[in-house]
Amino acid sequence: MSAVPLHMSTRHCARLATGARVFGVSAVAVLALVERDLPGVLAVAMLAGLAVLATLATRRALLGGTLIALSEAGLAAVIVGSHLGDLPFVMLYLVVPPFVAGLHAGVVGTAISCLLEIIVVYLLTAPALSLDALSERLEVAAPWVLTSVGSGVLGAWLRQLDHVPPRDSDAYHSARRLLGELRTVARSLSAGLDPVGIAQQILVETREAIGDEAAVVLVRTEGGILVPLSQDEGGRLSEVGNDDPVVMECWTTEAPAQEIVGGPLGRRVRVALPLQVGVRMIGIVVAECGRGVSAAQLQILHSSLSEHTLRLDTALVFDEVRTLATADERRRLAREIHDGIAQEVASIGYAVDEMIADSDSREQRDSLRALRNELTRLVSELRLSIFDLRSEVSQSAGFGAALTDYVRQVGTRSGMSVHLSLNETPQRLRVEVETEILRIAQEAITNARRHSGASNLWVTFAADPPHATLSIADDGHGLGTPRSDSYGLRIMRERAERIGASLEIRSREGGGAQVSLTLAPETSRSPARNLGAVAALRKDREDVHLGLAHR
């Protein structure tokens, strides 16, 4: 029975019923031939006719399956009952209808079918017999009744198998369950869906299993590039790139790989372990050890990471979906401001222009001009808000390009001299993280533009994935009390928290304010790297001066 496939179709069910009928008829026929009895052959012919009729009725769907099965039981009982006196062996066929009924209508069908057979056979035979003969017959009939019940239960069980939900809905069930969990977790934000946190758990587990000295989790981003998500050492492994031989081997073979590398501490073994969800590669853990790791150890670690990997994948997908949804919403908002309030304020501006033109009094004209200037400023702000909402980090151009574009457009309109300094390595952060950093930069620059009264703005960004720092400083009149807990600052803090970065807002030496963002996803083994360490990158600093604004 174990060979019966789990998805049993209705056709399969009909075939089993036909098989049972053929078996029943043949068994009775063989017995009839042994007895060489004419009435026996007649009974067999009648049973065969019934079997053919039932099969045809099922195939043509003339009646419901249950109804056919029960009619079959009744008619079979009539045939068997009327021949029982001379030919006890025809009772064998009584096994067939309960089986068929079980297939079509489950245990209830079997029970009704058996009961029907017993009643019909009893009614046809009992009146003709004496009490002694009856009990003798019952003895003969009992095993057959039991066999019928047994075959019926078998049919019902097969039917049960047929109703096991197919695999597709299994997938939906688990997807629904996961989404439910996701909703719960998403409400408490980044608690369980923080990719960096999960990556750190992977690093901890890896360290416990193979005792590495340094490790990094790389994840695949759109475009097939691996980016570092988290590392648990002072940066020695941060230069592990997509073209590292051990990474490439692991990526292409989808199996753990090892190689011996020379390092500052002598010969080391670099291990790359694939992070897979099913057959899909989502990333790689690269670890450096003092000694080789056995294949068995790697295999154990690989399987113990599978749950973390699934969670990591879910978290990354969730992050991506959230970023996409947010971007959609921002675009919608930009359209709404563009088509609504901005046009209305602009048209009020035109109306004031008309009032200025029509006015005779010079005083009135002056106050109307002041109003017009205010309206112009307001429309400019709305235009910049639309620009803010529409600026995005592009997958191809890189974060530096997006920041440069933004700073140029917005900074130079403000009357501040903007000093932009970028320091990026070829590796990139995840777009989701870059997007949050850009939003923080936008908010900080907007604050400086609106409130600081500064003449200089310094925007500094350094990235050495998974680390990054952003600093926005001005030489304006510093932090006012109302600014420190403003809505804008709260949003900046929330954004920083979402990517696991720390945000500091303080007065700048020599006047003004400074907003510093530090992204340093480290595990507990090493303390967070300080700003200086990240700023002191291999590359020379490139200062791009944007010149004085001309307004």
Binding site: G241, Q343, R383, A401
Partner: protein
């Protein structure tokens, strides 16, 4: 004789404000107003106005695309592009589409009239209040800057040529080629060829390259 003007903008109040501004100047005559591109273009063909004032974003399409179509049909029509968007992108797009002037919507209506006056006189030139700043911003380098020679070497690197092949192709010695390559790596902050190509693509120094994993 007054100059005929057609206004295309989907916001009634904007059209109204602008139309009153044009009426205040005796040298202009607003001959029509449209709220959609389809209507606007039909009116342009029917009325042949001397100046068209058109918004960048209209319900049935882009005013910049319409500008391009209008310019293709008529080289001497003044086209003033209006926009609520900030950013140089729109300004340069208007310039490239063949507009005669570009005015943001925060500017007073007199600016629009002045731009239309300019457009009527010299439709094939281009004027915008922010033009000089925008040009300056555009010319500023944003990423790493390579010398022309380094760009040549970079392109050959991207084609997959080795050091000696590059040297042969550019008629320079291998050591010179190596120097160029290491300078490129330095400027791009790259440690190897693949990283250099990747950051060059990102900085827009090379357009496209097929990378095999």
């Amino acid at each position: 004789m007054s100059t005929s003007v057609l206004l295309i903008d989907d916001h009634d109040l904007i059209r109204q404000g602008l139309s009153r501004a044009f009426e205040r100047s005796p040298d202009f005559n607003v001959v029509g107003q449209a709220g959609t591109l389809a209507e606007g273009e039909r009116m342009v063909h029917g009325m042949a106005p001397e100046v068209v004032v058109i918004d960048v974003r209209l319900p049935d399409g882009s005013g910049l695309d319409a500008t391009r179509r209008l310019r293709d049909r008529n080289a001497d029509m003044g086209i003033v592009v209006l926009t609520m968007y900030a950013g140089d992108e729109q300004l340069f797009a208007a310039l490239e589409a063949g507009a005669s002037a570009f005015v943001p919507k925060d500017a007073p209506s007199e600016d629009v009239v002045a731009a239309a006056r300019h457009a009527a006189v010299s439709p094939r030139s281009f004027t915008a209040a922010d033009l000089a700043d925008a040009m300056r911003r555009r010319m500023q380098p944003s990423g790493p800057q390579l010398s022309p020679r380094e760009k040549e070497v970079l392109n050959l690197l991207a084609e997959g040529l080795g050091v000696s092949a590059i040297a042969r192709r550019l008629f320079i010695s291998e050591s010179t080629a190596k120097t160029h390559i290491s300078k490129i790596y330095d400027k791009l902050g790259a440690g190897n060829r693949a990283q250099a190509i990747m950051s060059a693509i990102r900085a827009g120094l090379i357009r496209e390259v097929s990378i095999t994993a």
